[in-house]
């Protein structure tokens, strides 16, 4: 960075980084909250799917939880904060008749020093994501018949599922799990809203240095970003080690032959957590909605003294153009990502349907696994050099980079798990590779493709830092404006933008669920695939 006077290589930024007060605690916080949030999310998802898969309740759980995926992290986190803060809605509903509080209690719930609320905020967002990923992987694992077989052999539902279906499903959701781990450890917006502040997590502090008026802090920020990357890689190793150990232990238990018939406890946890997760997000959205229409709202009133359209009216003009820009970029990047991914998958799949080992495809995942802050600074300079900064095209290219891995993630495993015999049959009937693609694979992939599109849409619509930096402030979306406005902390505005942010991608997910049902209404086995 010659512009800042850094023309030689030196270890000074690292020395500066480790001299920052509380930096180790920040790093430890990132590691622990990230691991805890991921572990809890994975366990809950396993319990929920094991408990409900194949039952009539499963559709209901799916229908309740999957729309939550579309709620942007920031909106969900704000909703949770508005709900459980000492002056939040729960406390208002229970005061003063139950609690006796006439003023909010001086309790440290939001920003608690252990990061428990942060973990909670991550879990309510990651459970729906992992759940949808798991559901998309179930048909390839032949889950229904496997579970039925296990249960006939006398296994309890949960233990039977964990012993027979999980080992086949888990490899398919491994990458999403690692993405969740990387995200949870390096999230900026959720940690800002819910996480500890004295000190904050590593990613939050690094972002702070990058935005500090003292520009020489950038060197230290770069070192911090590298530390963040190292932490994430370390967490991957830990997780991988954990996977191996659990697999060993589980094998021993399976060999022991216990049927685990009494499984009311895990099933109760599954039910309660599914309700709690969806309840927290939905109630959070409701309270966001109330705040967006609120006049003066004194504690402990359960509802505002007056309602008004003022906040909506004030922002109404700008909202439309923001939505249009955001949707335009999102749809374009999702469509291109889908085409690229499907083409790549088709090209690397041999006629018998067995895919090549994706040579170099791990590169696509880098944006998922690298913390955003680590490479956005470089990307911004690159976009300035190429003259793409501040253009819609530049933002689209950058979004594509983030959307692509999610789309690939959502498509590659279901693709690889396609029953190769179907393609073989088609080939013996004289179909070429592309005819097989259009007539056999694409229809079979309808649900995963729509899911991938919805995920990509939500990802693109939720991107903040990339849009801001590459868009150079000239390309604005709902998200960049929302974060700029919410930086002020105005609850009514947060309500307006949070609610609108949640509604947009929700439409995408609604379609991902509805379209296959419509298309396959006369093809029961196809419909069951979702």
């Amino acid at each position: 960075m010659p512009a800042l006077g850094g023309e030689t290589l030196s270890l000074q930024p690292w020395r500066d980084l480790f001299a920052v007060p509380g930096i180790l605690r920040s790093a430890l916080l990132s590691l622990c909250t990230g691991l805890a949030a991921t572990l809890i999310s994975v366990i809950l998802v396993i319990l929920i799917v094991a408990t409900f898969q194949g039952t009539r309740g499963f559709r209901r759980v799916e229908r309740v939880l999957s729309p939550l995926l579309s709620v942007p992290h920031a909106a969900a986190a704000f909703g949770l904060a508005f709900l459980i803060a000492p002056s939040g809605w729960l406390s208002r509903l229970l005061s003063p008749w139950l609690t006796g509080w006439n003023a909010p209690p001086d309790l440290l719930i939001i920003h608690d020093t252990w990061g428990l609320t942060l973990i909670g905020g991550l879990v309510i967002k990651e459970v729906p994501f992992l759940l949808l990923m798991t559901i998309a992987a179930l048909p390839q694992a032949d889950a229904s018949r496997t579970l039925a077989a296990a249960m006939t052999l006398g296994y309890g539902r949960v233990s039977g599922w964990c012993r027979t279906v999980l080992p086949r499903v888990y490899p398919q959701i491994r990458l999403p799990v690692y993405a969740v781990l990387a995200f949870s450890m390096s999230t900026v917006e959720v940690a800002l809203i819910l996480g500890p502040t004295t000190p904050a997590t590593l990613a939050v502090r690094v972002t702070g240095w990058m935005r500090d008026p003292d520009l020489t802090l950038w060197f230290q920020a770069a070192a911090g970003a590298a530390l963040q990357l190292a932490l994430v890689l370390f967490a991957f190793l830990l997780w991988r080690f954990g996977e191996t150990v659990i697999a060993r232990l589980a094998l021993m238990r399976i060999m022991a032959g216990h049927r685990g018939r009494s499984d009311w406890f895990p099933r109760a946890i599954a039910l309660v957590s599914a309700l709690a997760v969806s309840g927290a997000v939905f109630a959070g959205l409701v309270v966001l909605g109330i705040w967006s229409f609120a006049g003066f709202w004194r504690f402990p009133d359960a509802l505002p003294q007056a309602f008004s359209l003022k906040t909506w009216m004030r922002s109404g003009d700008t909202l439309l153009s923001l939505v249009a820009t955001g949707m335009g970029i999102a749809v374009a990047s999702v469509v291109v990502a889908l085409i690229l991914v499907l083409y790549q998958l088709q090209q690397t799949t041999r006629l018998d349907g067995s895919p090549d080992r994706g040579q170099g495809m791990w590169l696509v995942y880098l944006p998922l696994i690298l913390p955003q802050i680590s490479f956005l600074l470089g990307l911004q300079i690159l976009s300035v050099i190429s003259g793409l900064d501040g253009t819609h095209f530049g933002v689209f290219v950058c979004h594509l980079m983030f959307v692509l891995p999610y789309v690939y993630l959502s498509l590659s495993d279901p693709w690889k798990a396609l029953n190769p015999r179907l393609s073989t049959v088609a080939a013996t009937l004289g179909s070429g590779p592309w005819r097989i693609f259009w007539r056999v694979r694409l229809p079979l992939m309808l649900t995963p493709i729509l899911t991938a599109a919805a995920v990509g849409l939500a990802v693109s619509l939720g991107l903040y830092l990339p849009t801001l930096l590459i868009g150079a402030g000239r390309v604005t979306t709902l998200t960049t404006e929302a974060v700029a406005l919410t930086a002020g902390g105005d609850r009514r505005l947060i309500g307006v933008y949070g609610l609108l942010q949640a509604i947009l991608p929700f439409i995408g997910f609604g379609m991902a669920l509805a379209v296959p049902r419509l298309v396959w209404r006369n093809r029961r086995a196809m419909e069951a695939r979702q």
Binding site: P199, Q380, T476
Partner: protein
């Protein structure tokens, strides 16, 4: 660039050459030439977007300048001013010394000092603007000295800010009126006061305000920090903070992140005193239904810190003339009077009433201040902002003392 326009003023340019990356000079006599250059230019105005009322004001100003001079101003709403600074720095790193994407920045003292030091600003230009003649240079010295750093015409003032405190008269009729008194009051009322967490701007301003009152000789705040005397000088401040921190909201284990969040805490009844850098914050919040109508403002005994809001032009701006024309409009009596209207923004003017003509003064005289806003007399003379090095040191020390405790 535009040598023909400026050729006539080369001697003047030499006169100003001591400052920053200036290569051209804008002269009032050529104002019409500048205006005609400005017509049709697109000015990207990077300004903090956290205050909807200020956003609406900027939108109004943009409409006015479009109709009058044909300058197209787009407000780029930032979450943090440093984002615009980063943008300019990365453009410089990429060698884009012309046609940059930031044309005008609403800049604060620390960012100004850092950009000025790194030659990232265009100018001088501000004191050559036609409307500079109305600016109250004598009565409001902060229009030429941003956090003690001389502005040297590299930025133009467009509003005055002063720290005010506010409280709900219903729950707290008689608020403590000094830093020491706030500490004593907190002993009786633990958890009922807090300040935004440094390095937030409001939090740091509170620390500086406390330093003014607690330090034996506050005049050293006007000089850069003397590292040898720093410990001794600031000892009373840290002693006071050590004493009050356990009595703060959440026992000092968490802090609100911004002034707006602090306002929300007051509205929720979590705390009883809050403060703001906008003189009419309380009146505006009452009108907006954010605070009860029993809230009133006050200042501490001995006065509170005040400064001016500025706009600056990056060295590689793609629309200098347009930016200059817009900055001149922001400084005009008409725009200033509108900004001071509490129904619009409630931001006090940088202009001197004595320098205005009848019609212009009438615009200001007709303004009602709002139920919870102090008059300029009640606000009193503002204390000067300390040198930016104080802010850096206090911020660092605060973070290592209180920002990373368990």
């Amino acid at each position: 660039m535009h040598k023909s326009v400026f050729a006539a003023v080369v001697p003047l340019f030499l006169f100003h050459a001591a400052t920053a990356a200036a290569d051209h000079h804008i002269d009032v006599e050529h104002w019409s030439a500048i205006e005609s250059k400005a017509t049709g230019q697109e000015v990207y105005f990077h300004a903090w977007g956290g205050d909807p009322r200020r956003n609406a004001y900027i939108e109004w100003a943009a409409e006015q300048i479009l109709n009058r001079s044909g300058v197209v101003v787009t407000h780029v709403k930032l979450a943090d001013t440093a984002e615009a600074v980063s943008q300019v720095v990365s453009e410089k790193a990429a060698g884009r010394d012309e046609d940059g994407s930031v044309d005008l920045i609403w800049i604060n003292g620390a960012n100004f000092a850092s950009m000025k030091e790194q030659d990232l600003l265009y100018g001088p230009w501000a004191e050559e603007l036609p409307n500079w003649q109305y600016v109250d240079v004598e009565g409001k010295p902060t229009v030429q000295s941003d956090f003690t750093v001389p502005t040297d015409g590299l930025e133009a003032p467009w509003g005055m800010a002063q720290l005010i405190f506010y409280h709900d008269t219903e729950t707290l009729p008689d608020p403590p009126k000094s830093i020491v008194a706030i500490g004593e009051w907190l002993e009786e009322n633990p958890g009922r006061f807090t300040y935004p967490q440094p390095p937030d701007f409001h939090g740091l301003t509170f620390l500086k305000q406390a330093a003014y009152e607690l330090m034996q000789d506050p005049s050293v705040l006007q000089e850069p920090v003397d590292p040898d005397r720093y410990e001794d000088l600031t000892a009373p401040l840290w002693a006071w903070l050590d004493g009050v921190t356990p009595n703060l909201w959440r026992s000092g284990r968490a802090y609100p992140s911004t002034g707006t969040q602090m306002k929300q805490l007051l509205a929720d009844g979590e705390i009883e005193i809050a403060f703001s850098f906008n003189q009419s914050e309380a009146s505006a919040a009452i009108a907006n239904g954010e605070l009860p109508d029993t809230v009133r403002s006050y200042v501490l005994e001995g006065g509170t810190i005040g400064n001016a809001n500025f706009v600056a032009i990056p060295y590689n701006s793609s629309a200098r003339e347009g930016a200059v024309v817009f900055a001149n409009f922001l400084m005009s009596p008409e725009a200033q009077a509108r900004a001071q209207d509490p129904g619009v923004l409630g931001n006090f003017t940088v202009l001197d009433m004595d320098k205005l003509n009848e019609t212009h003064r009438a615009r200001f005289d007709s303004l009602e201040l709002g139920v919870a806003t102090l008059t300029p007399e009640e606000l009193g003379q503002a204390l000067q902002e300390p040198h930016p090095s104080w802010m850096d040191r206090l911020s660092e020390d605060w973070i290592s003392r209180y920002g990373v405790s368990q």
